[in-house]
């Protein structure tokens, strides 16, 4: 075994690797070993967010999906159902505009809008500051609506308890295979807009089989934010987990 990196020895098939770690630094240079995760900074901030959530009893969900899956409509319906039971606050991520935060506030929950500008995802640093601004009550449910994007948000831990991926039936059933990182990172798949299924050629079983191929343990709920179908099960999912002890 290679002592530099622990990879397999002589039979190594790694492109450009076998030769690479043998070469000493050229004269006049010094090699500094870092072994540092590229997402280390984000992960450290996410860990800090997670500790704050545990200390305050906040139950934090990171909602991820492609644009137009119905995240904001689902959030509005969720807020209305949770109202009176538990405080709910929302962190909204979009490249531009505060339209989503305005809709959430109209639905009755405090919300803060993060505009990422050119950025394609929220990171743990932004979320930490949003928590400062919102100052949720102890035991609150914190919903983070990530930027509509099935690629980049998968890589950035925000300190949430769970990633929830929302896929609407107006998208293709092969989305889990096309964007596997996101479906692998999520604990729950909400299949949204199921009220439209009679009008579509969307193979639900095929879609779920694809999702489970990427993530065998993923939970699935079929919902419609518009008709209300399945929302009781979604609320029950939140209630069961927010009361369970959280890990820091």
């Amino acid at each position: 075994m290679c002592t530099t990196c622990g990879c397999g020895g002589d039979g190594a098939t790694l492109d450009g690797h076998a030769h690479a770690h043998g070469a000493p630094p050229r004269p006049g240079r010094r090699r500094v070993s870092l072994e540092q995760n590229l997402l280390a900074k984000n992960d450290a901030l996410a860990a800090r967010n997670r500790e704050r959530c545990a200390a305050q009893g906040w139950f934090t969900l990171n909602l991820v999906s492609s644009p137009g899956s119905g995240k904001t409509t689902l959030l509005e319906a969720t807020i209305r159902r949770l109202q009176g039971r538990v405080p709910v606050v929302v962190i909204e991520g979009d490249q531009q505009t505060s339209q989503d935060a305005d809709r959430i506030k109209a639905a009755g929950a405090p919300a803060v809008q993060i505009n990422t500008g050119k950025g394609c995802h929220l990171d743990a640093h932004m979320v930490g500051h949003a928590l400062d601004v919102l100052a949720p009550a102890a035991g609150a449910v914190v919903m983070i609506e990530n930027v509509g994007n099935l690629v980049c948000p998968a890589a950035f831990d925000l300190g949430e308890a769970h990633k929830v991926v929302i896929l609407s039936v107006t998208e293709g059933e092969d989305k889990p295979l096309k964007y596997p990182d996101m479906f692998a990172a999520a604990d729950l798949l909400l299949l949204n807009k199921v009220d439209l299924l009679p009008h579509l050629r969307f193979d639900v079983e095929q879609c779920l089989a694809f999702a489970r191929r990427v993530n065998p343990g993923i939970e699935v709920l079929r919902v419609s934010a518009q008709s209300g179908e399945g929302l009781d099960a979604w609320i029950a999912w939140i209630e069961a987990r927010r009361l369970a002890p959280q890990q820091a």
Partner: protein
């Protein structure tokens, strides 16, 4: 596009190391990038020079060590190489392969100018 923010975080980390350990210009950066890490090698190469501007890393050479994906098949128990997260087991054709390697995304080491 998130490769650029990954690179910016990385370069900030190197800047902090440069201050803490007292080294100057960085001449080479070696990254380990797993096939299943979600980061695109071409995008990392593309963004590196831009992200390095006006930092101790400016002008450094970027070497990327690609690490193949690996997994363990639940059906036949084989340890297999994976091209993608959802690959079927190449040994038995079953769908349930747990990823065991190739998700790394890290700075291995850097070469710096001798003081």
């Amino acid at each position: 596009m998130h490769e650029l923010s990954i690179l910016e975080g990385m370069i900030q980390g190197i800047q902090e190391e440069a201050q803490a350990r007292g080294f100057g210009r960085v001449l080479q950066v070696r990254l380990e990038v797993g096939r299943l890490s979600g980061a695109e090698v071409a995008a990392l190469r593309f963004g590196f020079d831009v992200a390095a501007q006006d930092t101790v890393v400016e002008g450094a050479e970027l070497e990327i060590i690609e690490v193949p994906g690996s997994g363990l098949c639940h059906a036949c128990g084989a340890e297999v190489e994976l091209e993608a997260r959802f690959d079927l087991c190449p040994a038995c054709g079953d769908g349930f392969v747990t990823v065991t390697g190739g998700t790394e995304l890290r700075i291995k080491d850097i070469d710096v100018e001798e003081a």
